[in-house]
Amino acid sequence: MVGGTTILPLELSGVIARVRGKQLLGPIDLTIGATGLTVVMGPNGAGKTTLLRVMHGLRRISGGTVNWAVEDGAARRKQAFVFQSPIMMRRRVIDSIAFPLILHGMDRKSAKIRAEDWAIRVGLGHVLQDWAPMISGGEKQKLAVARALISAPEILFLDEPCANLDGRSTREIEAVLKQAEHAGTRIVMATHNLGQARRLASDVIFVHGGKILEITPADRFFNEAKTPQAKAFVQGDIVE
């Protein structure tokens, strides 16, 4: 924990997200407590991204409430988000990673020193001076993770951060996330990767058709899922 008041827990109650009358999500009732690494799972189009965006405040909700322990403005400053398709600024890798720090008032020099440190931690030491939009897909995702962690967020949302990574890079990112977790960062991550979920999750939210079907401690989810959809999902079957 980075000191001061905590923004957690996060409480969602009766949350509904709609697009032009079509309901995408909800109603959702959910509490994200102060510790743990929550993995959000579910088939494509289930609503994982929508749920994460609702929690982060990027998507307007049509009903219900999303409450942090502190007021929204203060809460936003202690969150970070890694998007499903990484957003690359038209800047060099090092400047992209340093961007959140500079945006929030740190002087350029110290920001760059910390950015370089983070780049090395996620394995981007060799492309520091490269143009961010030009690096490989996997490198972009590493950049996004470093850029999210550099401002030491209290909670970090990740939307399939390892989708483009090979096995080795996936393990590198996982190690970084574990370190962050130990340092007190609450992590909520969407992933399709069952192996990764087994390795990292303390608990699992299973989403299907815009609804949460299960919220369970990880070992229980993988061994004795309650719903047939979750069971099928865990076994790698097609979820109807």
């Binding site: 982060h56 990027l58 403005g73 936003r76 400053r77 969150q79 970070a80 988000f81 998007f83 957003i87 600024m89 038209r90 800047r91 961007f99 959140p100 945006l103 929030h104 143009w131 939009p133």
Partner: protein, 234 residues
């Protein structure tokens, strides 16, 4: 055509002899246009970005008005500025009519909507890309505008150069508000109009060729400075 080839020769002669009047005219053209484009960019670029990141009631109307203003005939702008700056107009006391400042004012009005409109389009695309990140990082409106202008700078140079192109070749408005006074407000375009009216087609063509050369030189210089042509960059 005879006038075109003699025009070319005339242009070479003028350049080679470095005719002092010509140098004065070229420098004034550049001074007026560069100042006008700089001011118009200072207003137009942030305005274009501001219109992207702010949702307000008359946003669409404002953008439509900007686009319509791009088509404003320079002569109308000239007349408007003339009526404003005339001694019997509201700003007559400033005594600015028939000065380079009056020409700069007219050109700012002519090119600002163009720069704002093009930058609005450019920034809109970049905003679509950056939107989630900047919102997620809690960037203020001013910071959003700053980041979009900075990261979009290479594309925005196109907007500025379009403004420069329109301004350097403009004659109707600056003729009216500048008066085409020798050694005071005479620039390349008004000289060309004058020489054409005197039937000195070759000389006018020569000046036209110099105008194009100056415009190309400025474009190349800007591109070189901004390194847009360097393959390794964006």
């Amino acid at each position: 055509m005879d006038s075109i080839s003699t025009g070319l020769m005339e242009a070479f002669r003028l350049i080679l002899t470095l005719d002092s009047d010509l140098v004065e005219i070229v420098l004034l053209s550049l001074q007026v246009t560069v100042t006008a484009v700089a001011i118009a960019s200072l207003i137009g670029l942030p305005l274009g970005a501001w219109l992207v990141v702010n949702r307000f009631r008359f946003r669409r109307l404002t953008i439509s008005v900007l686009n319509a203003l791009m088509g404003l005939p320079p002569v109308v702008v000239g007349l408007f500025v003339y009526l404003m700056l005339s001694r019997s107009g509201p700003f007559g006391v400033l005594g600015l009519l028939f000065t380079p400042t009056a020409m700069i004012i007219a050109q700012v009005i002519i090119v600002m909507p163009l720069i704002a409109s093009i930058s609005h389009q450019t920034i809109r695309d970049l905003w679509a890309e950056y939107h989630d990140l900047l919102i997620s990082l809690n960037a203020s409106h001013a910071q959003r505008i700053k980041v979009l202008l900075w990261d979009g700078r290479r594309a925005l140079i196109t907007a500025v150069l379009a403004g420069f192109g329109r301004a350097i070749g403009e004659v109707g408005a600056i003729m009216i508000v500048g008066g085409n006074i020798d050694h005071a407000t005479r620039v390349l375009t008004t000289s060309i109009a004058l020489e054409t009216s005197k039937g000195n087609f070759a000389f006018a063509m020569g000046l036209g060729i110099i105008l194009i050369t100056v415009a190309i030189a400025v474009n190349l210089a800007i591109h070189t400075i901004s390194k847009t042509e360097r393959a390794s960059t964006w």
